[in-house]
């Protein structure tokens, strides 16, 4: 059974998700920050988390973005194979939603059209980065992140070798958070991709940061790796905003994929906790 979907619905949904992502911290992140405020032992760290939570309230009340860096829009679209889109291009509909949100919603346009040379701002925060997946069924699921540049710049990937093993992976993740230090606006959410290929491992890490805090992976081994990495990161002493403390990360999310017998790709995507913005909708 073919389901007809007008692309204007995609545009409206993307516009709403962009605004939500910038004005409101998801409940799971607010809960994690409130727990962190209690757990944090450093006075300056505790006060920093209080200011972050005050910021969340101000942003929601005044409909002002939590962070002036309103991000690159990254969309994970899981499109049911029974869906047929009417009314124009799916890709253009996504960018139109971004355009409306950023030009009408007092969000900063932070995208330059070419990365080198003139670096002219596109003026409406387009284009979005789109990860499109075809799935069974007749729904369209959109997960949208407004991804800040500061934490993105501190993210890293490496083609490890199989002999580096799990220990090599864990060391690389912890080292990434350590190098980032205060630059990534800790407490951070750490997205880790392991496996796949050079191009796909980064997308795994990005997908991992969009997962709500507190949801667990189905696989016990992966869950144990998340726990071990989080413990090591929070022993680094970096703390909220690098002012010292025991809460450097709110969560570590790991996603794995099959890989080549010669390979062990690992990617670490950092998401600032204070303005962690991912929202989803099913159409």
């Amino acid at each position: 059974m073919i389901r007809e979907v007008d692309v204007s619905l995609i545009t409206e949904t993307v516009e709403r998700l962009c605004l939500d992502a910038n004005y409101a911290l998801p409940d799971d992140v607010v809960d994690a920050l409130e727990a962190a405020r209690i757990r944090e032992v450093s006075p300056l760290g505790k006060q920093t988390i209080s200011l972050i939570l005050e910021n969340v309230s101000v942003a929601a009340e005044e409909r002002v973005p939590m962070c002036q860096d309103t991000g690159t829009v990254v969309v994970f679209a899981d499109v049911g194979q029974d869906v047929h889109f009417n009314g124009g291009s799916f890709r253009d509909a996504i960018d139109e939603g971004v355009r409306r949100a950023y030009t009408r919603g007092y969000l900063r346009s932070s995208i330059v059209g070419r990365p080198v040379g003139r670096r002219t701002n596109t003026g409406d925060n387009t284009p979005a980065v789109l990860h499109l997946h075809l799935v069974p069924g007749g729904n369209v699921s959109l997960t949208l992140l407004a991804k800040g540049g500061g934490a993105e710049n501190m993210s890293r990937m490496s083609m490890l070798t199989p002999s580096d093993g799990l220990q090599g992976v864990i060391d690389f993740v912890v080292e990434t958070v350590e190098i980032a230090g205060p630059n990534a606006c800790p407490p951070v959410i750490v997205g880790v991709g392991i496996g796949g290929t050079f191009d796909s491992v980064g997308a795994l890490a990005k997908h991992a940061i969009a997962r709500p805090i507190g949801t667990t992976t189905e696989d016990d081994e992966t869950r144990q790796i998340e726990v071990d990495i989080l413990r090591r990161i929070n022993a680094l002493g970096i703390g909220p905003h690098g002012f010292g403390g025991r809460v450097t990360a709110l969560a570590v999310h790991v996603e794995m994929a099959p890989t080549h017998i010669a390979s062990l790709p690992v990617a670490v995507n950092l998401q600032c906790g204070p303005a962690a913005r991912s929202h989803r909708a099913v159409i």
Partner: protein, 186 residues
């Protein structure tokens, strides 16, 4: 938190020298805002021996590219951006009279040396708190390089703007000290 010191530009040795890494401050009065593109232009102008569009002596520079303001608000969300990207320009600006910078994240060795040499301060504001910090900015105007949009140079009037001393004029670094204090060794 120990004591909270109030700062107002133009800054003098009497205000700067008692401050130590880890001290909390509240800033009132004038703060200039500039980020990557404005820094490149300022330092080019300095190297050509031109008069700068803003007088730097004793001033405080905030690394920020604000979001657009809602009607009735002086400014949109306005938190700090990563300071390290300004490192290649900062020593020349401090040598030209700038006394304090506000941003987030590590400074390089050359910047830290020039902070000591010129008796300056590097302050961190809370990243990702642009909505809260915007409420402490009570006035805003673009004063130079308007064509750069969010990267123009702004003059802000601030009240109770909170920041923490990361690098003081005596060579201390809060990020290093705090890790030393809270790191749990295996």
């Amino acid at each position: 938190m120990t004591t909270v010191t109030r700062l107002r530009a133009p800054l003098t040795d009497e205000q700067i020298l008692p401050l130590k890494a880890g001290d909390a401050v509240l800033i009132d009065g004038t703060v200039f805002g500039a980020r990557d593109a404005a820094h490149a232009q300022l330092v080019e102008a300095l190297r050509r021996g031109e008069v700068l569009p803003i007088e730097l002596t004793g001033q405080i520079l905030y690394y920020v590219g604000p979001a657009p303001a809602r009607p009735g608000h002086p400014i949109g969300s306005a938190g700090p951006t990563t300071s390290g990207r300004m490192d290649r320009y900062t020593p020349e600006l401090l040598a030209a009279g700038l006394r304090a910078t506000i941003g987030k994240g590590h400074r390089g060795g050359a910047v830290r040396e020039s902070i000591v040499a010129h008796r300056c301060l590097y302050l961190a504001a809370i990243g990702g708190s642009g909505a809260m910090l915007a409420k402490r900015i009570i006035g805003s105007e673009v004063v130079a390089y308007e064509e750069l949009g969010p990267e123009a140079i702004y003059r802000f009037e601030v009240r109770d703007f909170p920041a923490v001393v990361v690098n003081d004029a005596h060579g201390l670094d809060l990020y290093e000290m705090s890790r030393e204090e809270y790191c749990e060794r295996a």
